[in-house]
């Protein structure tokens, strides 16, 4: 069951929540709507569900115009961030609710309802808790019940609004994997909203990146991560080292020195901002090496399969910070120590014109918070 939204516009007073968005959600795919808070992703989801009405534009479900169809008749399953379980009903009654309220003619017999609810509770692996009340369940269990409840009425599409947003990190990861396997088993068309890029990249077939009510990029997780279309996408999907300078032939001249470029579609003399991911920076201990630039090691965070190295440069006030991600083997071979001076060599630089970047807040270096990109 495909979903298509066409030229959707939604305003809240002066604020434009969704600015002329057109998107296709193909049948059977799990699509992640990703963006910072306030980017319009939840509003778009609610418009698809019919919980909110668009100021302009149409929503098509399975090719038919559903813009004026009431939520009740849209047959969409909606899962809320805070579960929205009915507290005065048992788990069983919660899941059975959608079936029991069907008009007399369409309502299954009570025995059929029991069987269906039983199946769904097995599916979400909570059959043992059928007679409990929501207050007696953990967050992860509640969200699974909410999902079972939405599935009970056999929706044409599933819409999930930050389904794991209120859960702690470990449960979140489990549920992510579980949702993915559930989706692979049932193949319903689903759209889920998240502000967590890791979650979106890990779970989705397709990722839609949104910012300021507009779509920045649509693609598979690999596509959007490897080939970000805009500086926003680049910055949102991971940590970034930023270099400001001018293109000179096959080089980018920056304050730190001269960085080699591996592609050259920027004319010589243009101002540009270079984006380099932490794993695209390499460290050389030989200070006599003419390529790259000098920096000083501040901290080495070595746990797991990778090591993160934080460095400060010789330029800028306060001194520029860089982050490098190395494999453990490489880090061990380099045998770095805090205070050591090394050379940093970017393996790949992605260039954007500065005026494109100025618009966007980019998270420079994971863990250091959000900084406004300046040039």
């Amino acid at each position: 069951m495909s979903i298509r939204v066409e030229k959707i516009v939604k305003r809240f007073g002066q604020f434009v929540a969704i600015d002329n968005v057109t998107l296709d959600f193909p049948t059977g795919q799990l699509v992640g709507l990703l963006g910072p808070s306030g980017c319009g992703k939840t509003t778009l989801l609610r418009i698809i569900a019919g919980l909110e009405s668009a100021d302009a534009g149409r929503v098509f479900l399975e090719g038919e115009d559903a813009s004026d169809t009431h939520v009740r008749e849209r047959q969409v399953g909606f899962v809320f961030q805070h579960y929205a379980l009915f507290r005065h009903m048992t788990v069983f009654d919660n899941v059975a609710f959608g079936l029991r309220i069907k008009p007399r003619g369409q309502r299954p017999a009570e025995s059929a309802i029991r069987e269906r609810v039983g199946q769904l509770l097995d599916l979400v692996q909570l059959a043992a808790l059928a007679q409990r009340y929501p207050a007696q369940l953990s967050g992860g269990q509640r969200q699974r019940i909410a999902l079972a409840r939405a599935l009970a009425v056999e929706p044409r599409v599933m819409l999930l609004d930050e389904p794991f947003g209120a859960l702690d990190a470990k449960v979140r990861k489990e549920l992510r994997r579980w949702l993915r396997s559930l989706h692979d088993a049932l193949h319903f068309t689903s759209v889920f909203v998240t502000h967590d890029q890791e979650e979106a990249l890990e779970v989705s077939d397709q990722v839609v990146l949104m910012n300021h009510g507009r779509v920045e990029q649509v693609g598979t997780p690999t596509q959007v991560y490897e080939h970000p279309a805009t500086p926003f996408v680049y910055g949102f999907l991971g940590a970034v080292n930023l270099f400001h300078g001018w293109v000179q032939g096959q080089h980018l001249d920056v304050a730190e020195g001269r960085l080699p470029l591996n592609y050259g579609n920027f004319p010589a003399g243009t101002e540009a901002l270079g984006f380099v991911r932490p794993h695209e920076l390499d460290i050389a201990t030989d200070l006599a090496d003419p390529s790259g630039f000098v920096a000083q090691v501040e901290r080495i965070l070595a746990f797991g399969s990778t090591a993160r190295v934080e460095l400060t440069g010789a330029h800028g006030e306060p001194r520029r910070l860089y982050e490098v991600e190395l494999s453990r083997e490489r880090a061990d071979a380099l045998n770095l120590s805090a205070g050591q001076r090394v050379r940093l060599k970017p393996a790949r630089i992605r260039l954007f014109p500065p005026e494109q970047v100025a618009e966007v807040s980019i998270r420079i270096l994971g863990g250091l918070g959000t900084q406004k990109a300046t040039h």
């Binding site: 919980l51 009915f86 309220i101 409840r149």
Partner: protein
């Protein structure tokens, strides 16, 4: 530190509890026991003949009947009132919100005179209703209106905060599962509001049973028809029949207590059937 002595984080427990019990005894229990003691000066036959006199029995019917009915009416309309105040925004909403408390603030005698003036045969509303055969003033209907008037804030003010806390996501969830408006109200909203609604009902009822000032004007106090029990107590007092007055008071007290007990039981039961 003496062994066995438990230290509490919150200080002053013995003092606070002692004060509470003393206060309760002084303000509530001693006056109430005085009622029982005074009525005990009658022997059983005297007591029984006083409280079961036809005129007194008729007054029970009027008092408790109209009070229950008024509380029920307030249950329905107070809920609608609270709903409108919480869920919609409209010009003058704050004024309407403030007006809800008017029956609280208004001296009951003022309310009684105002209602009588409106509903009497020559009043603003009375003059249109009377030709239709609806006589309001000086009938039980008038009492009902007065009791409804004074009971409204109790239901609105108990339901309002609960409704404010009620997540609209619950209703959205119900609707997305295919529920229509009535089903959403019946299965989702009402169960969540029921405990508060019952509290409001109980408060409105308790207030209506004891109401005197606003009722006596509009009631007309026709014996056997529109005489409320508090009025009979007053008239017995005026005849210096203190024991008789307290005997009727004891009956009112016991009936009120039993009814409140039942409503409380109902409340506990509705609370128990949710969240555990």
């Amino acid at each position: 530190m003496r062994p066995g002595k438990r230290h509490r984080v919150l200080p002053g427990f013995p003092l606070a509890l002692g004060y509470t019990l003393f206060y309760l005894a002084l303000i509530v229990l001693i006056p109430l026991s005085a009622v029982f003691l005074k009525s005990a000066t009658l022997n059983w036959e005297q007591f029984w003949s006083t409280v079961s006199a036809p005129r007194v029995v008729a007054s029970y019917r009027v008092t408790f009947g109209t009070a229950l009915l008024a509380a029920a009416i307030n249950g329905v309309f107070g809920l609608i009132f609270a709903w409108v105040l919480v869920r919609y925004s409209f010009p003058g909403k704050r004024v309407v919100d403030a007006l809800v408390d008017l029956p609280f603030a208004l001296p009951t005698a003022v309310a009684g005179i105002a209602l009588t003036a409106i509903y009497a045969g020559n009043g603003w509303l009375g003059q249109w209703l009377e030709p239709l055969g609806v006589k309001v003033a000086f009938t039980p209907l008038g009492i009902l209106i007065a009791l409804t008037f004074i009971g409204l804030p109790f239901v609105v003010r108990t339901v309002q905060p609960v409704l404010e806390d009620l997540d609209t996501e619950l209703e959205e969830a119900a609707v997305s599962l295919g529920a229509d408006r009535w089903q959403t109200f019946r299965h989702i909203v009402l169960p969540a509001l029921l405990p508060a609604l019952l509290t409001g009902f109980a408060l409105a009822f308790a207030r209506a049973v004891g109401e005197y000032g606003s009722v006596i004007f509009i009631a007309g106090n026709v014996p056997m028809v529109s005489e409320i029990t508090p009025l009979l107590i007053i008239s017995k007092l005026e005849q210096f029949d203190y024991a008789g007055a307290t005997a009727i008071a004891v009956v009112m007290l016991v009936v009120s207590f039993v009814l409140l007990f039942l409503i409380n039981g109902l409340q506990i039961w509705t609370n128990r059937s949710r969240e555990r």
